[in-house]
C-alpha cells in the first residue's frame, strides 16, 4: 500500500478478502507470515494494536452499539475524560470537527438505531478517522447501499484520498472498483491471483475473480405468461418493531413468468414474502393463489397448495443444519406417502429420494447422511432448491436464491428457476443483487419503503432502476404505457395493468 492510494481488493464471496483484513485488524491471528507497517514487521494481537499502528476498519456488519448515540459510538474505546468522568461535550465537539473536516455531516446526539444505513456507515468512517488512522479498510461498504448512496461513498473515498489517507476497498462489484481504485488486487480461494489497473476491461477482472469467464445473462426464451397465479392486493405487514414494513403492496404473478423484486435490503421484501407464506400475519389486504384466498392460511397449507419457498437465510429458515441431507430433503414431505405413514417414517424411501435428488441437483457430498451444515453454501442451497422443487409447483418464491453461493451453483440454480417458469409455474424472485433480478426476471418490481414503486421491464436502464431503488421515480410525471410507474397511486384493483406494462 502506498500513502494516499485507494487499493481495491476484489474477489468472490468466500475468497478470503474479509479474513485477510480481519487478520490485519487483529481480530484473527495469522498462522504464518508477517505484516509490515512502514517497512517494519509488526505483530497485531488485537484491534487495539491495529489502531495504534494506524489501521482503521469499517466492517461489513457495522460495529456500532444501536442504543448508543453517535458521539458515544465514536468515542468508545478512546473516551475523552476529565477526572475519571467522560467529557461528553468534548466527544460531541470531536465528532463535529472530524465530520466537518472530511465533509461527512452527522448529528452527534442522534441514536444509531434511528439512523438509515448510509448514515450509520458514515458514523463508522468518522469513528475510524477520529483515531487518526492512516490506512482505512472498507469491508464491502457498498453491499447495503443504494446506487446513489454508493456514488456518495465513492466521492467520500476520493476526498479521504486527497487528504492523504490510504484506503483498502473490499468489494466484488467491478463497476465500483473501476470508478475509484488506483490499483486492484484480485483474490481467489485465499491466494492473490493477479493485480490489475483500473483501466482493465471488466470482463478481464471478472475472469481473474472466478477463474473463467462469467455468464451474467441467464439463457432463457421469451416468457409465455398465462393466468394470474399469485395475486397480492393492498397488503400491509408489520415488522418486528411494529413499523409498516409492507405498506399496501399490489402484485400479480402469472403462470410462466418470473417477477423479480428489486430493492435495497430492508425495504419490506422479507416481510412481504413471509406474509405470503403465512409466516407473518398481514394487517390489511389479501393474498390469492389461483383465485383462492390464502391470506390467513397456515404455512403448511400454503406449501401443500403447491407453493415452493426458498427462504432468504438458509441457515436460519431453510435447513436444519444438524440433520442429514436426506432428512432435510423431506422436511416438508415426511408426513405423506411414500416417506411417512401414520406412526413411522419409511427410511428406505427417504434414502432413495435423497440419492435421486443429490444426483439430479448435483449436490457435492460424500453421502446423503452427511449433516447439511457440513456442505458448502452453494450445495446447501441446492438441497433447499431440490426439496422445494420435489413437489409439483404452482408458485415458486425464491428469496436471495444465490446469496453466498459459488458461481457454478448460481448458474445451476438460475437454470432450474427458469425451467420451473417454462413448466408453467409462476415465479417470484427477491434479490438484493440487481444483476440477478435483471438476469432472471421477465418483469421487475422495485420496492422502496414497503411499496412497489414501479414495475418495469428488465432492460430498463440501470440508472433508472437505481433511482427507483432510492425512492425516486424518474417517470412519475410522464408515465410509461399503462401506468407502470405509478404502483403506489394505483387503486386497489386487479393490478392487471402491471401485467401488461412490461411484456
Amino acid at each position: 500500500m502506498e500513502p494516499g492510494e485507494i487499493h481495491a481488493l476484489l474477489g468472490e464471496n468466500g475468497a478470503g478478502k474479509s479474513t485477510l483484513m480481519n487478520v490485519l485488524y487483529g481480530l484473527l491471528q495469522p498462522d504464518e507470515g508477517e505484516i509490515l507497517v512502514d517497512g517494519a514487521p509488526v505483530r497485531i494481537k488485537g484491534p487495539g494494536d491495529a489502531i495504534k499502528v494506524g489501521i482503521g476498519m469499517v466492517h461489513q456488519h457495522f460495529m456500532l452499539v444501536p442504543v448508543f448515540s453517535v458521539a458515544e459510538n465514536v468515542m468508545l474505546g478512546a473516551e475523552p475524560a476529565r477526572g475519571g468522568f467522560i467529557d461528553h461535550a468534548g466527544a460531541v465537539k470531536l465528532v463535529r470537527e472530524v465530520s466537518e473536516r472530511y465533509g461527512l455531516p452527522l448529528d452527534p446526539n442522534a441514536i444509531i438505531e434511528d439512523l438509515p444505513i448510509g448514515i450509520q456507515q458514515r458514523v463508522e468512517i468518522v469513528k475510524a478517522l477520529t483515531r487518526e488512522v492512516d490506512l482505512l479498510i472498507l469491508d464491502e461498504p457498498t453491499a447495503v447501499l443504494t446506487p446513489q448512496e454508493t456514488d456518495e461513498l465513492l466521492q467520500v473515498m476520493r476526498g479521504l484520498k486527497a487528504a492523504g489517507k490510504s484506503i483498502v476497498f473490499i468489494t466484488h462489484k467491478l463497476r465500483e472498483v473501476k470508478a475509484v481504485a488506483d490499483r486492484i488486487t484480485v483474490i481467489r480461494r485465499g491466494r492473490t491471483v493477479g493485480t490489475a489497473d483500473p483501466t482493465a476491461p471488466e470482463s478481464e477482472l471478472a475472469e481473474l475473480m472466478v477463474g473463467r469467464s462469467v455468464v451474467l445473462e441467464v439463457p432463457k426464451d421469451e416468457a409465455a405468461p398465462g393466468a394470474p397465479v399469485l395475486e397480492v392486493s393492498g397488503l400491509v405487514v408489520a415488522d418486528d418493531r411494529e413499523h409498516r414494513a409492507v405498506d399496501g403492496v399490489d402484485l400479480v404473478v402469472r403462470g410462466g413468468e418470473v417477477l423479480g423484486i428489486a430493492g435495497v435490503q430492508g425495504n419490506g421484501q422479507t416481510e412481504l414474502v413471509e406474509s405470503i407464506m403465512g409466516l407473518r400475519p398481514s394487517r390489511a389486504g389479501s393474498v390469492h393463489l389461483n383465485g383462492e384466498p390464502i391470506t390467513t392460511w397456515h404455512t403448511r397449507d400454503v406449501l401443500r397448495a403447491g407453493v415452493g419457498y426458498v427462504p432468504e437465510d438458509r441457515s436460519v429458515d431453510g435447513l436444519v443444519k444438524e440433520f442429514s441431507i436426506a432428512e432435510n430433503l423431506v422436511l416438508d414431505l415426511y408426513r405423506s406417502a411414500p416417506f411417512g405413514g401414520r406412526f413411522s417414517l419409511d427410511l428406505d424411501a427417504i434414502d432413495a429420494q435423497a440419492e435421486q435428488k443429490i444426483a439430479e441437483f448435483d449436490v457435492r457430498t460424500q453421502s446423503a447422511h452427511q449433516p447439511v451444515g457440513a456442505l458448502s453454501g452453494g450445495n446447501q442451497q441446492k438441497v433447499i432448491v431440490a426439496r422445494e422443487m420435489s413437489r409439483p409447483l404452482q408458485l415458486l418464491i425464491a428469496a436471495q436464491p444465490t446469496r453466498g453461493v459459488d458461481v457454478g451453483s448460481i448458474e445451476f440454480i438460475h437454470s432450474r428457476i427458469v425451467a420451473e417458469r417454462d413448466r408453467g409455474a409462476a415465479v417470484l424472485v427477491v434479490s438484493s443483487e440487481l444483476d440477478e433480478v435483471v438476469a432472471l426476471a421477465d418483469r421487475v418490481a422495485v420496492m422502496y419503503r414497503g411499496r412497489v414503486l414501479a414495475i418495469v421491464a428488465p432492460d430498463t436502464p440501470r440508472e433508472t432502476l437505481g433511482l427507483l431503488m432510492a425512492g425516486i421515480d424518474p417517470n412519475s410525471s410522464s408515465s410509461t404505457p399503462a401506468g407502470s410507474g405509478a404502483g403506489e397511486q394505483e387503486p386497489r384493483g386487479e393490478g392487471m395493468s402491471h401485467g401488461e406494462a412490461a411484456s
Binding site: L27, I51, L64, D114, A238, H243, R449
Partner: protein, 425 residues
C-alpha cells in the same frame, strides 16, 4: 441524498394500533379491582375509624376516616382511575399507580376498621419497614445490574446473598470485628461470583444453568457448615456483633420518611450510596460506557480495542462484591446470626426488581422499594390480626412480582448481548 434521508425518517410509520393496548387491558383489570374494593371492602368494613398515624408508633398526629367510608371512597378512586385508563388508554403509569394505591388503601380501611387489635396504621413505621425490607433487594438487584449490563446473566444473586450472610456471620464472630465480618461477606459474594465468571465467560456454559447450580451449591455448602461448625458452638462461630446505629440528628425527626431514611446503619446508608455510585459510574464514566457497550454489542467494543472478556470478569466479580455485602444484612443486622437458607428467595425477588427496574440502578432501587412495601404491608396486617390467612399475605410480594415482571412493565429490553458468550472472530 438529504432529501432521501429525511423521507426515510418520516416514513417510520407505526402500524395502526389495536384497540386493546396494554394500557386499556390494565385499565380493565384496575376497573375490576376498583369495583371489587368499592362493593366488597365497602360492605365488609365497619364504621369504626381507621387511623393513619404519621409517626413510628400508634400515638401522635394522624388522619381518621370511618372504615366503610374510606373503603368505598378509595375503592371509587381506583374504579375511576381504572375507567379513565380503560377508555382513554393514556397516562398509563400515573393511572395504574393511583388505581393500585386506591385499591390498597381501600383494603387497609376495611382491615383496620374490623381489626380486633388496632385501628391505627403508623405510616412512619410502614415507611421504615418498607425500606428495611428493601435493603437486601437493593444490593441484590445492583449486583444483577452490574453483571447483566456487561452481558452476563446473573441468576446467582440468591447464592451471593447467602454466601455473604454466612461469611459475614462466621468471620464477624471469629475475628470479633463487625467490620472485618462485613469485608468477609463481600469477599464471600465475590468468590461465588468468580465461579460464575469462570464457567460463563471462560467455559461458555449456559449462564442460567450455572447461576441456578450456584444457588443450590451455596445453599448446601452453607447449611453443611452451619450444622457442623456453627450450631455446635454458636458463641464461637455465629455471634456477630450488632450493626452500629447511626441516626442523623434533625433529619431523623422528619415525619414518615425521617425514621426510614435517616435513622439507619451501614446497610441502609450504604444501599443509598451504592445506588448513586453505580448510577454515576454506569452513565458518566469510561468504565460505564464500556460496560454497556460490552453488554449490548461486544464485537463493536472489541473492534475499538476494549478487552471484552476482561471487562466481563471485572463486572461479574463486582456484582458478587456488592451482593455479598448486601447478604451480610441478613446475618449481621441483629445478633441472631446466620441460619440455614435464611435468604429464602430474596435473591430472586432482587432479580425481578432488576428486570422491573429495566436494568437501571435507579429503576432497580424503586422496584426494590415496591417489593419492600408489600413485605411491610404483610407484616402490618399480621400485627393487627387480619382475618386474611398470613400465608396468603406472605404470598403478596410474589404475586406482585409476577404481575410486575410479566404484565405491568410490558416488554422490557434487556442488554442485547445479555446471556450471550462472546467468541472472537
Amino acid at each position: 441524498m438529504s432529501a432521501v434521508t429525511t423521507s426515510t425518517m418520516d416514513a417510520e410509520l407505526a402500524v395502526p394500533e389495536a384497540y386493546w393496548t396494554r394500557a386499556r387491558k390494565t385499565g380493565a383489570v384496575m376497573t375490576g379491582l376498583g369495583l371489587l374494593a368499592t362493593i366488597l371492602f365497602g360492605a365488609l368494613a365497619s364504621s369504626e375509624n381507621a387511623r393513619f398515624a404519621l409517626g413510628e408508633t400508634v400515638q401522635g398526629a394522624g388522619f381518621d376516616i370511618p372504615g366503610n367510608v374510606g373503603a368505598i371512597f378509595f375503592g371509587l378512586v381506583a374504579l375511576v382511575a381504572g375507567l379513565v385508563l380503560l377508555f382513554t388508554g393514556r397516562h398509563f403509569g400515573i393511572l395504574t399507580g393511583v388505581a393500585l394505591m386506591g385499591f390498597i388503601i381501600s383494603a387497609l380501611c376495611w382491615q383496620m376498621s374490623v381489626s380486633p387489635v388496632s385501628h391505627t396504621m403508623p405510616l412512619g413505621f410502614i415507611a421504615a419497614a418498607t425500606f428495611t425490607a428493601a435493603i437486601p433487594l437493593i444490593f441484590g438487584s445492583l449486583g444483577g445490574v452490574l453483571c447483566e449490563r456487561s452481558g452476563v446473566v446473573n441468576v446467582a444473586i440468591e447464592g451471593q446473598l447467602l454466601t455473604g450472610a454466612f461469611f459475614g456471620a462466621l468471620f464477624g464472630t471469629v475475628t470479633g470485628s463487625f467490620w472485618l465480618g462485613l469485608l468477609a461477606a463481600a469477599v464471600g459474594g465475590l468468590l461465588l461470583s468468580a465461579i460464575l465468571a469462570v464457567f460463563a465467560i471462560r467455559y461458555l456454559v449456559d449462564q442460567v444453568v450455572v447461576g441456578i447450580v450456584l444457588n443450590v451449591f451455596a445453599g448446601g455448602l452453607t447449611a453443611f457448615f452451619y450444622e457442623q461448625v456453627m450450631r455446635p458452638d454458636t458463641d464461637a462461630y455465629n455471634f456477630p456483633g450488632k450493626v452500629p446505629s447511626w441516626p442523623i440528628p434533625v433529619l431523623s425527626e422528619i415525619p414518615i420518611l425521617g425514621p426510614a431514611l435517616f435513622n439507619g446503619n451501614i446497610f441502609s446508608y450504604g444501599s443509598l450510596i451504592a445506588v448513586a455510585v453505580v448510577t454515576i459510574a454506569l452513565f458518566r464514566t469510561r468504565w460505564g460506557l464500556r460496560t454497556r457497550a460490552v453488554g449490548e454489542h461486544p464485537a463493536a467494543a472489541d473492534t475499538v480495542g476494549i478487552r471484552v472478556l476482561g471487562l466481563r470478569y471485572l463486572n461479574v466479580l463486582l456484582a458478587g462484591l456488592v451482593a455479598g455485602f448486601g447478604g451480610a444484612y441478613f446475618s449481621m443486622l441483629s445478633t441472631t446470626g446466620f441460619s440455614k437458607y435464611m435468604v429464602s428467595g430474596a435473591g430472586f425477588i432482587a432479580l425481578a426488581a432488576m428486570i422491573f427496574g429495566r436494568w437501571h440502578p435507579v429503576g432497580a432501587f424503586f422496584a426494590s422499594l415496591f417489593f419492600g412495601f408489600f413485605g411491610a404491608l404483610t407484616g402490618f396486617l399480621n400485627s393487627i390480626s387480619s382475618p386474611i390467612p398470613s400465608q396468603f399475605l406472605s404470598m403478596l410480594p410474589y404475586v406482585a412480582t409476577i404481575f410486575a415482571v410479566a404484565g405491568l412493565v410490558g416488554r422490557v429490553r434487556a442488554p442485547a448481548a445479555d446471556g450471550k458468550p462472546y467468541i472472537k472472530g
